[in-house]
């Protein structure tokens, strides 16, 4: 599990790894993590609304199962490259709420020191490469991190997470082709939440089944219900096994939905009436809770307790973060170059 990308481990980083392992090993933790993501995202929207945060943010309510499924099916020494819509993925991978909210709120305890903001998360201890704010840029980067594993002969894999809208940019095409021709151990996960910004997918993409595109690179593909965490988990597990066996990339389309608008200022008025409601009927957090009750892992009360615990924890975190020091002027200068500035 040790990795060449890991420098000295700080306390927070160790914490991230244990959080990750807890999620891998315990389905109740998996559920709790989904709750954590949901609550935190809702809170972030509020914080922006209250004017506490400058800039923008992209939340992922409704997409929790994809993030938790990916995290549950991979190892902390695997690499994940996701996007500006990365809070959920980061938390699922183990990034602590302190580090995440710290970053969003511009604090030094933020996972990149509070000078990146909501779109720029990173934690190498759990394999989260910096989340990039340029659509498509992360796709070839994920291929490249898989190249490292291939060249060094390790069985680490990479996961590239991106949206439906990103399948129209050149980096998608080039990244998938390169991964295919080099047989790289990488899984491409397209979170098809039906929208790229304010545009519905059918207005920008002339096909419905994105797997057709994978065929253009001879990459095997699967489509999965993105609201079902176990379904996501098992499709990723299969793809990860293929990748670790040297059988190359897999393309996975997870059908999902984002409840909030594209970013802080978007009220999502462009959505057809009823669309959100019909997706809410298949809410991934509730569905998973029901499943855990059905199979006897938890009872109603256990579910309620998890919600309550997570609510309390979030408020405690927020208090800690708001009391912690902001990024300072010096921080602007010290991480521009690895060779010192």
């Amino acid at each position: 599990m040790s990795s060449p990308v890991l420098p000295e481990e700080t306390e927070v980083q160790l914490d991230a790894v244990s959080r990750r392992l807890a999620l891998t090993n315990d389905v109740a933790v998996r559920f709790a993590r989904m709750v954590e993501i949901r609550l935190l995202e809702d809170r972030v929207i509020d914080l922006f609304g209250e004017g506490l945060i400058p800039g923008t943010t992209h939340t992922c309510q409704g997409q929790e199962a994809v993030a938790v499924g990916i995290a549950g099916a991979t190892r902390p020494d695997d690499v994940v490259v996701c996007t500006y819509r990365g809070h959920g993925m980061a938390l699922a991978l183990g990034v602590t709420p302190d580090a995440l909210l710290g970053e969003i709120l511009g604090r030094q305890i933020g996972c990149m020191g509070g000078i990146g903001g909501s779109m720029h998360l990173s934690d190498s201890s759990v394999g989260l490469l910096p989340t990039m704010a340029i659509v498509g840029a992360g796709i070839p980067i994920a291929a490249g991190s898989a190249l490292t594993a291939q060249v060094l002969g390790s069985d680490r894999i990479s996961v590239s997470v991106f949206g439906d809208g990103s399948t129209n940019i050149g980096g998608f095409h080039e990244g998938l082709n390169l991964a295919a021709i080099w047989r790289l151990p990488v899984i491409f996960v397209c979170e098809n939440n039906l929208y790229g910004e304010y545009s519905r997918i059918d207005r920008t993409t002339p096909i419905e089944d994105l797997a057709l595109r994978a065929a253009g690179y001879a990459i095997p593909s699967e489509t999965v219900d993105g609201q079902d965490v176990d379904a996501v988990l098992s499709v990723i597990e299969r793809a990860a096994a293929r990748a670790r066996e040297g059988e190359g990339p897999t393309f996975i389309e997870a059908k999902t939905y984002r409840y909030a608008g594209h970013s802080r200022s978007d009220k999502a008025a462009y959505r057809p009436a009823g669309e959100l409601d019909s997706w809410l009927e298949r809410d991934p957090v509730r569905l998973y809770g029901e499943k855990l009750i059905a199979n006897g892992t938890l009872d109603e009360e256990g579910i309620e307790r998890i919600w309550a615990e997570q609510r309390d924890a979030l408020e405690a975190t927020l208090e800690r973060v708001l009391a912690s020091p902001r990024a300072s002027t010096a921080d602007m200068f010290t991480r521009v170059q690895a060779s010192g500035s």
């Binding site: 945060i53 400058p54 800039g55 923008t56 511009g106 509070g114 000078i115 990146g116 903001g117 909501s118 779109m119 720029h120 990039m132 704010a133 340029i134 659509v135 498509g136 840029a137 809208g165 990103s166 129209n168 940019i169 050149g170 980096g171 790229g196 910004e197 304010y198 545009s199 207005r203 920008t204 993409t205 462009y270 902001r326 990024a327 002027t329 010096a330 921080d331 602007m332 200068f333 521009v336 500035s341």
Partner: protein, 336 residues
């Protein structure tokens, strides 16, 4: 006189040009139905319909390339790049294709294409969404480059860009979209390229500013103590108005550029070099560039405010220049 926000002024400019010339079309990501992420195309889809006002897929190379092809065959496309950084995935189409079309057609084709891009810091968007990046464009033969400094100049430059026979990039400082300005739209408000504007008069120094720093420079001058300055809004960088700068420096004997860029590679170097070279005998002190430090644009209101030169800082640096005839250190040379 209507008091327009800069984004409204831009939408008005595009609308008027589309009325005037049926070959003007506009496209970009979410500019039609959603009327633009920054509301710079409000009302256009409704007025001109989906043939001329289009949303695009997330495909900067695709739609910039399409704009180039459309421009050389008879349309005048106005395309929006949501954040200027996104040109990084498609710069080729602007600087290597559009800018060479006239040349590569033996002078027979024109590429009357307008690329609008929001730019700049001040809104907390973080390092990949807050730069100005004139440097990617400055120096490209065949290309023109304008930078808006408010509603009035955005209106005038956008209209001029759309009418221009050459490809033009217009940069729009994002932090100014919401600011209102009084001005009279219409033919007289169209701004010619290569003509700077003198916004304040003074004796001791010539300040050249652009985009977001125009307001900063004007504020600095209003806080000036014991000195006065010419303040020039350069408005276009390609071509740039050598005459207005040279004439002013001939009077003031000093040149200061105020830019939003990092120090290295910014447009200020071009102006300063020209003056230091060609107006040497007019100078009575060193030329000076006031810029941001050579770092990524930090996130967070406070740090971002420190990054961008502030009016008090500009005033202080200029005071020191004038009183000592030496260029004072940049603020970060002390800090670090």
């Amino acid at each position: 006189m209507p008091k327009l926000r800069m984004n409204q002024a831009i939408a008005l400019a595009i609308r008027e040009e589309m009325e005037r010339d049926p070959t003007v079309v506009t496209f970009g990501e979410d500019i039609a139905e959603a009327e633009g992420p920054f509301k710079t195309s409000e009302g256009l889809l409704e007025r001109f319909g989906p043939l001329r006002v289009r949303d695009t897929p997330i495909s900067e190379t695709g739609f910039l390339g399409a704009a180039v092809g459309a421009a050389v065959t008879g349309l005048r496309p106005v395309v929006e790049i949501m954040f200027v950084e996104f040109l990084g995935v498609a710069l080729d189409q602007v600087v290597t294709e559009a800018a060479m079309m006239h040349y590569l057609s033996g002078g027979r084709l024109n590429a009357p294409l307008t690329v609008r891009a929001s730019c700049g810091s001040g809104l907390g968007f973080g390092c990949q969404h807050s730069q100005t990046l004139e440097r990617w464009l400055l120096g490209t033969p065949g290309l023109k480059l304008a930078v808006a400094s408010g509603a009035r100049s955005a209106y005038g430059l956008t209209k001029a860009a759309i009418r221009d026979p050459d490809p033009v990039v217009v940069l729009e400082p994002r932090a100014l979209y919401g600011r209102r300005e009084d001005f009279e739209p219409g033919e007289d408000a169209v701004l010619p390229f290569g003509v700077g504007e003198l916004l304040a008069n003074g004796d001791d120094v010539t300040i050249v500013a652009l985009g977001q720093t125009v307001g900063i420079a004007l504020n600095a001058v209003s806080e000036a103590n014991g000195w006065s300055a010419d303040v020039i809004d350069l408005r276009t960088l390609m071509p740039w108005d050598r005459g207005i700068v040279e004439r002013s420096v001939a009077r003031t004997g000093r040149l200061v550029t105020v830019e939003e860029n990092q120090l290295t590679g910014g447009w200020g170097g071009e102006i300063v070099s020209h003056v230091a070279s060609r107006c040497y005998s007019d100078l009575r002190g060193p030329v000076m560039r006031i810029t941001a430090p050579d770092v990524h644009v930090p996130y967070g209101s406070e740090l971002e405010a420190e990054y961008l030169p502030s009016s008090p800082y500009v005033a202080k640096q200029i005071s020191e220049l004038i009183s000592t005839d030496k260029v004072p250190g940049h603020w970060w040379e002390d800090t670090r």
